[in-house]
């Protein structure tokens, strides 16, 4: 216990120091050989990864097991700002099953991305800056998951937002990258505003930010929230529900849930490895993590919100999967697939129960498990996509085709990940997705039907992607410019991640999952429900088969189907015009309507007041300048008059 307590600060401190070092001195010190900056970043992150693994292993096998449940350790909790006795902001390190698991996810993917970027970003302008921001992101994400209180989480939440912004706008000479970065930042900030309001409401009533106090459960209630907030109503709604829904909105922004999903596809403007790390594996699941962290409060005190979350998740997963079927930019396909899969995790949380005694708790476990497996295979897919883009210098499917003979390693790893996300056994995605479907089946048949259909869609669009890249007909341009296999430092991460994808199901090998993580931290024995499993395999196979028929070879069937479903196809390929709706609302209604009034107020009332202040200052300073005459007698006179005047004032007061 002492060892992990002593080691834990490294996880936060080292990435932060690397950020400072690479950010401040990187450009200067490594001007001639920027690669050193990359190696330093990678070496630092390897240390962080080793420490994270060590802590996670120690926690799950040695220290964490309490008498009947896994314990929650607060390794350190430094009081950072103490505004009042209740308003204390601490920075700490909390170790419990989900944060230990997240340590593994973040450090693994981040390390792989660090290694991969050595090859992918080689020779790019701003290489040092890239590694500095990667370190910043790792620091922020680690701080987020180990947060001991919701305010710390919020601070690091914003920090990951900043680093995401910096990475999306990495190629800041491209106007589209700048626009995408702005969009991502503004949309997530907009959602974060609700998050902050939710935090403030919650802490106003409970007088604390602390997770341990907020999520303590006894007698079927989240005790603190129940005693402090029970019965508080606002406009006919329970205040608890309002607060928890606002907090969820923050999570929905980061996790790109409908209607906040619009930023994620555009965020693909950033370098591909950064997309793999931030916009596929780690940051975008922060919202899921947030709901999981606050799960007892959601479950016991705001169950209505949890139900809403379930339906939002189901709708988003369906919606994003349909769009993914029509996109031709491979990173956009993956982006919509990410949205759809994260929505799965929300659905799983929504259908979960709390205690581990019966099947009810399955949703929570499945959600966290899917988070883990998805991080691995989606990172692998993104990195593989990076290799392909690197080889053909385009994001468009049309520039690809028949790449399997040029890039065998990328081909195999991509295939493994596609099988995993489609839910084909024995790859990891099958198991995690199956548990989600079982949980949904037992809780709500509508959600189950929707999710099973999405599973089929997922298999279809992923294999559409796969066949279009690796089979289909070859792009004639390849004759002039032969695509080649990526260098070794890009292939190793692919292999490592696909190994994770192949073998995560072996509990004995990677025992983080799934039995150890349940909402009440007791642990739970998983069994595969074969009836539902076989149904979902069938759905997946059907999806793959359709993709096979349509996209294995170049033919006119896809166009024919698109022609038949013209209306649906066009609107889906335009992402159901959600962006246009946003633009209409912001441009026409907000900027054109509401803002005009506000701008008038600002220009005439606020600015007018400031101008008045400036005018008064200027005139007064002009009028009184003679007082400072340089004449000493006058100074003494002023002094004396001052004393007498003050005395007169004070005596008569």
């Amino acid at each position: 216990m002492e060892t992990i307590t002593n080691l834990s600060p490294i996880i936060l401190a080292l990435p932060f120091l690397m950020f400072l070092f690479l950010g401040l001195c990187g450009n200067k010190l490594f001007k001639s050989n920027p690669n050193i900056a990359g190696w330093i970043g990678t070496a630092g992150l390897s240390v962080v990864a080793i420490v994270s693994y060590y802590i996670a292993i120690q926690y799950f096998w040695v220290e964490g097991k309490g008498a009947d449940a896994y314990q929650q350790f607060v390794l350190f909790n430094h009081e950072w700002l103490k505004m009042t006795d209740n308003l204390v902001i601490s920075i700490g390190f909390m170790l419990d099953p989900i944060s230990a698991m997240m340590l593994v996810v973040i450090s693994t993917v981040s390390l792989m991305v660090h290694i991969y970027s050595l090859g992918y970003m080689h020779g790019e302008e701003g290489f040092q800056r890239y590694y500095a921001v990667l370190s910043l992101f790792t620091f922020a994400m680690m701080g987020l998951v180990v947060a001991t209180n919701i305010f710390q989480m919020y601070i690091f939440w914003e920090l990951v937002g900043v680093s995401s912004f910096l990475l999306i706008s990495f190629y800041f000479i491209k106007p589209s990258a700048v626009a995408a970065a702005k969009k991502a930042f503004i949309v997530t900030r907009f959602a974060d505003m609700f998050f902050l309001i939710g935090i403030l409401i919650l802490s106003y009533y409970t007088n604390t930010f602390d997770f341990l106090k907020l999520t303590a459960v006894s007698d079927g209630h989240a005790t603190l929230v129940n005693t402090k907030m029970c019965g508080e109503m606002f406009m006919g709604l329970s205040v608890t529900s309002i607060a928890m829904f606002l907090i969820f909105l923050g999570g929905a922004g980061k996790s790109a849930m409908f209607p906040f999903h619009i930023w994620l596809p555009d965020a693909m403007e950033g370098p591909t490895p950064a997309s793999a790390l931030i916009h596929a594996a780690t940051m975008v699941v922060a919202g899921v993590f947030l709901v999981a962290r606050m799960f007892p409060v959601y479950f016991f005190e705001a169950h209505d919100v949890l139900t809403i979350i379930g339906y939002i998740g189901a709708f988003t997963s369906l919606f994003a999967a349909i769009i993914a079927c029509t996109q031709t930019d491979i990173k956009r396909v993956l982006a919509f697939s990410t949205i759809s899969q994260i929505a799965y995790m929300f659905v799983a949380l929504a259908v979960s129960g709390y205690t581990s005694e019966h099947e009810a708790c399955l949703g929570y476990t499945a959600s966290m498990w899917h988070l883990f497996t998805h991080a691995m295979f989606k990172a692998c897919l993104f990195l593989g996509a990076g290799c392909i883009i690197h080889a053909v210098h385009s994001n468009e499917m049309n520039a690809m085709g028949n790449l399997r003979k040029f890039m065998p390693i990328a081909h195999i790893t991509f295939l493994v990940s596609c099988l995993a996300i489609a839910g084909i056994p024995p790859f990891s995605g099958f198991f995690s997705k199956d548990e989600i479907l079982v949980a949904a089946f037992e809780h709500d048949k509508v959600l189950y039907a929707c999710q099973a259909f999405v599973a089929g869609l997922t298999a279809f669009y992923m294999f559409r992607l796969y066949f279009r890249i690796f089979w289909y007909s070859e792009n004639p341009a390849h004759a002039h410019h032969t695509p080649h296999e990526a260098p070794m430092n890009m292939n190793i991460p692919l292999i490592v991640l696909s190994v994770f994808t192949c073998f995560t199901w072996l509990d004995k090998v990677f025992p983080f999952f799934p039995e150890k993580i349940t909402a009440d931290r007791v642990g739970y024995e998983l069994e595969t429900n074969w009836i539902i499993a076989i149904a979902s395999i069938l759905v997946a196979v059907v999806g793959i088969a359709i993709a096979w028929v349509l996209y294995l070879k170049k033919n006119d069937k896809p166009d024919m189907i698109a022609g038949k479903l013209k209306c649906l196809y066009i609107s889906a390929s335009h992402r159901f015009y959600i962006d246009e709706i946003y633009l209409f609302i912001t441009r026409k209604i907000i900027f054109g309507g509401i803002c005009v009034a506000i701008a008038w107020f600002d220009r005439h009332i606020i600015d007018g007041f400031m101008n008045l202040l400036a005018w008064i200052s200027r005139e007064l300073s002009y009028d009184i300048r003679d007082v400072q005459s340089g004449n000493l007698q006058q100074y003494a006179w002023g002094f004396l008059v001052g004393v007498l005047a003050i005395a007169m004032f004070a005596i008569n007061y």
């Binding site: 009081e79 200052s617 200027r618 000493l632 002094f639 008059v641 004393v643 003050i646 004032f649």
Partner: protein
Amino acid sequence: MDLDYSQFLSMSHEVSLVVVLIVLLLADLLIKNKKAFQYLAIAAFALHTVAGFYSYTDLAGDAFAGMYVSGAAQSFVKNILNVGTLIVFFFSFEWNNNENKSGVGEFFFLTLSTLIGMYFMVSAGDFLFFYIGLETASIPMAALVAMNKKGTEGAEAAAKYILTASFSSGVMLFGISLIYGACGSLYFDEVQAAFTNITALHIFALVCFIAGVGFKISLVPFHFWTADTYQGAPTGITAYLSVISKGAAVFAFMSILYKAFANEPDVWQNILWWLIVITITIGNLFAIRQKNLKRFLAFSSISQAGYIMLGVYASSQTGMSSTIYYILIYMFTNLAAFGIISAIENKTGKVGMDDYNGLYSTNPKLAFAMTLAMFSLGGIPPFAGFFSKFFIFAAVASSKVYGDYVLVFLALLNTIISLYYYLLVVKAMFINKSESPIETIKIDTMSRVALLVCVVAILVIGFISSIYMNIYNISDGFAN
């Protein structure tokens, strides 16, 4: 009567400084190489500073039958003063090597003499003792102000300083004698007990006392000397005056108000309310029109004095800690500004705001540091000055009195005005074009180190919350 020598143990700051003084006095006679002497002086004082940090928590006690009191808060303030003085020494190194070659010994001796006077002010437990400290801090200061022997400006500045100082000290002594007449004692504890059933006599005594200290802190209307003296004095001394001298006086003033006049806070709070508003406003209004940077900073420091007094006004533990915190941050910020001005003045002789036009193109690092200092003085987050202003406003706003919100509001309005003139400097450096900008200069290592310390402090102090927490814990607060 036997003297109990053990009481000197609680005065270890003072004793150690006196030792340094004596050593320097002898060394000045023996060491002919002025540069070597400077190194020795700085080393000796640095040693004293470090020693001060070691004796920082376990110093508690009194001496001379309670005329001298020492505690954690006093020790902390003395440490702040030490650090500030050390930074001033670093900044003055170059000046001492060139312009002031003949007066190096005096420079150190006089500066440290005033410092010991400030120690006594800070640790006073009795009005007379406080008065002696104040005078010890004032009289050598006049000689320091006149150190610039070329030209008449220094002499004029010193004359204005010493005449106003003697005038104000006369008023203050008059006030102290009235306090004795009204209360029958000069010990703070006994005055506290006797300062009830307020009559006009009590109030007049208090006002005279406030006027005397107000001179030191340069509160309006006791501030007239400030601009002329700041402008004429050597820049290092100006920095010393504006930061160290002011900081010591504020703390001493606060501890007297919180102790001796604790039973009737309304009386002096009413006076302070108006003094603060007038000081901040007048300081700002004059600062807007200044073209000479030293004069500009003089008025800026008058306005800052008003802000510091907000913490005193709050009369609570938070008020005390936020005041000390403000002094600490104000010290680093103002010293950074003065350090840059002094470095540029030493190299080029230019102190006008227009001379700084286009400074960024020739001296980007100096311009950057100056920008940080200006932002911090203006209270822009995330620099240290923001945090000090935040805590001081929070201290005043935490009281339930309606008038306090008005005070905070007026202070905030003034912050906006102050931003205008602080940003004028930034605008001059970054935006204004100049035909003949200040050439690229290379400042000496000593100033560079000191500047670096100040800049780092401006950037990080606000984020290290333990500093504020620590100050809060040692602040013994109101009336005890």
